[in-house]
Symmetry: C2
């Protein structure tokens, strides 16, 4: 075919095989010739009769191809002057920009100990597949339609039961909203509360800066409340309309909000009418004792509880949930109305099945054993080899903070040394409103490496810290 | 156990079985007693020694339970006065609000012919499960982490190839963004273009009102451009910064944007620097001829192409995509940064597999045959039994418009009659900026019923129209 069309002087490079048919091939060739500028606007095309004879195809094939390209706007049919190339803005050839690197957490080779990730090599593939089979076999087709933006009812029911059992959350399915991650949840909450007049929001300091930025971008005035060994210093709260807090395991410092502070925070919220957003991002993981139950259980009318599957299973699922006080059900629904649903209904039903079948519990038990052992090994290695370091925070979650009290170097040098040796960790200053307020320390995401790589990762970390030039401890001489 | 604890006068109703352990049972009972107000703030609790003896459990069990509840804030430990119920806002018992009905498209019994849905009974369950198995077997664990908000690279690559082949879209993977539905896509586009100074957006009239509202809510000035038999009257465009259009199959009228208008629209966009959002919601479905290729292929530097899996597979997937001009890649990425990723990565990889394995094409071929037959039968039935009706729009997509030119009744009466007879359809006035501008007509979503129910659904529709009291045609006498 190429030979035939080349006779037209169109220099047509066909990439379609004959399987696509003569007509489709002709259309493709003409379209590409117009797009590429080889056929310029106004160029008359041969009559269908002539072209059909030249190409040795039926006249109908050419006519249909011309009609198609006229309908698409590549060619134009002029009265009395036949078919010509349409007058339209020339299309540049597609630029081949490199795919941008992902903006969040690319996986790096070496010792990846950045925080925020579970061990993804533990993803329950077999269980996920089995649950998918169950869903495919039992779900009516109607469930695959436009779902309730608040989430599929079976998942909301399963979550209400699960959260009550595991985290002491007071939840009924109507108060549970399924979101595509904590960021989505926070956006919806900020939106709903803004519509009800909220103007300011407090975050802990330190905290994940992206959340503070998001709230600011949503038009809320953002303040920061310092954290000490008892968690957020709630006595510093003043007239904020909303406060977000990580009571079970402060992020990133790893402390627990003390009983007295819990009570004081809720009393403050009750007095001022503020809402508390409880970010229970890793509440399922506590290794030394039973996890402290959710704050929400004490004041379900003032606390918006937020949880996620990102730490228990995988962030790639994009499943999180919030449980809201009764008076926020309608505002949240209103916020979600503009959003449609966000979370794939199949996945919601699969996750509900994982909860109902007990597979999520079994997965969590396996993970708890694994992470506890990792944390213990980290603690032992630090104690033995890096005596100037102090592992702070409770035995919980997926990360620990390693501080170097009174060390004579700065974080930039420490992180640079680690990075040069292939160790990826977060510096703690990143999480502080004013980095200068941060103690010298790093956040170690010990859950991140795959199980088989944990030993070598830990060794790399420890030997890198041991060889840190300069003074990691007050007393050391370099 | 109940008996023992009842002796304390706590009226504890235990719902946890003994499998949960004595300590968990005691904690649960005490927590519920505090929550329910049966134990009021300040009430002193028995010493651990006394309670342990009373309950016939070890003292350690009671101590640990007390400690847990102190940590959670239900109880407080006062120096010298032992444990008492903490002072905190009383938690109301969970209200049991009914689950709200979904805000979009609940499935109704009877003849459901509302538009916007494919036949969900055709959902490719076996193929979905097989693709999930493939993904579970072949995907590295790292893929389950925080993904690229723009979408998983394998899906963006598959979509770029698929859209080029099926819709004539000029796409490279770096320009493809995966979204959680068209609403999400439109929100991101409005956000990105607003940040670049766009202040106004034009929609077709008629169009889906929710999209106009969303754009308005995002701060853009919304104008409407009328549609005639040649699609949007693009000559009415003035200085809008963005225009959204459904060129392949106008929604809801079902006409195609004529070749002359396509050319004129793109010339206008090139001249004014405006962007065109091409909503190609059902471009895969054309029954009388080959689908008209995407407008985007003519001007990939001015057109933002949007497609979706909602009509080809199921809206419950929450997968859609946009292909943007090169200069919008960075602004879109910027918009998405605040959003994290939204679409489950497993689902993205499953969908990519459906495209690559040819299963999506096979599914589409089956659906095309099915819908074409339904549309033909609808046309025949209307011609035979409802001669005053005129089926308008091209033979494409999942819906048709049935107009009653010059009929003497109003839409409200027509829809009321249909609804009373169990027929759910959309009136056409709903889609008009000023409902009074609408012709009398209904939008019939012939793809919506499951295959086995189509005959009876069609019969119900036709017999209901036949028995419409009043005048559906200009000439009929009631």
């Amino acid at each position: 075919m190429e030979d035939q069309w080349a006779r037209l002087g169109l220099d047509l490079h066909l990439t379609l095989g004959p399987a696509h048919g003569l007509r489709a091939g002709l259309e493709y060739a003409l379209r590409e010739a117009v797009r590429g500028g080889r056929l310029t606007p106004g160029t008359p095309l041969p009559s269908s009769r002539t072209l059909a004879r030249d190409l040795n195809v039926s006249r109908g094939t050419v006519t249909q191809a011309y009609e198609q390209l006229v309908a698409e706007g590549y060619l134009a049919s002029r009265p009395r002057s036949g078919i010509e190339v349409a007058d339209h803005p020339a299309a540049p050839p597609p630029a081949s920009i490199d795919l941008d690197p992902p903006v969040t957490l690319p996986f790096v080779k070496g010792a990846d100990l950045r925080s925020g990730l579970p061990d993804l090599s533990a993803f329950p593939r077999r269980e996920w597949l089995a649950a998918t089979r169950h869903v495919m076999q039992t779900t009516p087709g109607t469930a695959f339609g436009y779902g309730d933006p608040a989430g599929a009812v079976p998942l909301r029911e399963a979550l209400a039961e699960y959260l009550g059992r595991v985290r002491g959350v007071v939840a009924t399915p109507d108060r549970v909203f399924v979101c595509a991650g904590y960021t989505h949840a926070l956006r919806l909450v900020c939106q709903a509360l803004s519509l009800r007049g909220a103007a300011s929001i407090a975050f802990e300091d330190p905290a994940e800066p992206a959340y503070c930025s998001l709230a600011g971008q949503m038009g809320l005035e953002v303040s920061r409340v310092p954290v000490d060994r008892d968690g957020m210093m709630v006595g510093r709260l003043t007239g904020e309309d909303v406060v977000t807090v990580t009571p079970a395991h402060q992020y990133p410092l790893g402390v627990t909000l003390s009983p007295a502070r819990r009570t004081r925070l809720l009393a403050w919220a009750a007095r001022t009418g503020a809402y508390v957003v409880e970010d229970d991002y890793d509440g399922e993981f506590r290794y030394d004792r039973q996890p402290v139950g959710a704050l929400q259980g004490l004041a379900p009318d003032r606390v918006i509880y937020a949880g996620t599957a990102s730490k228990t299973v995988a962030p790639g699922l994009r499943i999180a949930w919030i449980v809201v006080p009764p008076d926020l059900v309608r505002p949240l629904r209103e916020s979600m109305r503009w959003d449609e649903a966000y979370v794939n209904v199949i996945e919601q039903l699969v996750f509900a099945r994982l909860i109902r079948s007990g597979e999520l519990d079994r997965h969590l038990r396996r993970c708890r054993i694994r992470y506890r052992r990792r944390r213990d090994r980290l603690g032992e290695a630090i104690a033995r080899h890096v005596p100037s370091g102090r592992l702070s925070g409770i035995a919980a979650g997926l990360h620990a903070v390693l501080e170097f009290p009174g060390a004579a170097i700065d974080e930039r040098r420490l992180l640079g040394h680690l990075r040069r040796n292939g160790v990826a960790v977060d510096g703690i200053a990143y999480f502080y409103h004013r980095p200068a307020d941060a103690p010298l320390g790093i956040v170690i995401g010990y859950a991140t490496p795959p199980e088989h790589a944990y030993s070598s990762t830990l060794e790399t970390l420890i030997s890198t810290l041991e060889t840190m030039p300069g003074a990691l401890s007050r007393d050391s001489r370099s």
